[in-house]
Amino acid sequence: MEKNESQFSGGRRYKNKDITVYWKPSACIHASYCYRELLEVFDPSKRPWVDMEGSTTDRIIEVVNLCPTEALAWKWNDETKNDSVGSDQLNHINFRRPELMNTDENDSNNEPVSVKIMPDGPIVLKGSFTISYNGNKKEVRDSMVSICRCGVSDHMPFCDGQHRKAGFIG
């Protein structure tokens, strides 16, 4: 199944085919417009609590626009449409959280991935990248992965700390 929930710095985002909804928990003041208006989409008792298939795109936009804080914001997935949204779209990220227009996919791309060779230890990768191993392919977003460099890990290709026991030097 396609995963419609993902993380960004400061919160989570949820996607349907038309739009992405951003949720920033630290900004929420529990005014509760979202779940009183549209429990089919915003249900705090469920995980994930936002179900983007629970209603129509128009209705989701309408309810996100009711949020009195910047806890909920939205944007079109088709970037060209974001340039011309009207100011009546109160919680479009152009108005609510313009910084998100950059922090998303764009920013994490500009930031070089940090690769640290630890003394007598693993390779520590930090940032956003695609990793393939044992026939899997995964998207890593703003996160860390430790790769074995000594050759004795039981969890290849990842480090499991055995380099110390093995007396790895390098």
Partner: protein, 63 residues
Amino acid sequence: MEENNEKKSKVIVEVIEFGPLKITGNFLIKDLQRNTEDSSGEVRLCRCGKSGNKPYCDESCKK
């Protein structure tokens, strides 16, 4: 979806089976053991522990 994500990620990390870790794209390697840096855009790092040119692979894994 999968395809989109691939385009967005500029850095590709490939764990080559019985071989090195290949990294391509916009990365910065800091070798804290040898105090060197590398942002050449493509590297192969040793994963077997046997390379004579650490942190890089020198194909000792193939022997």
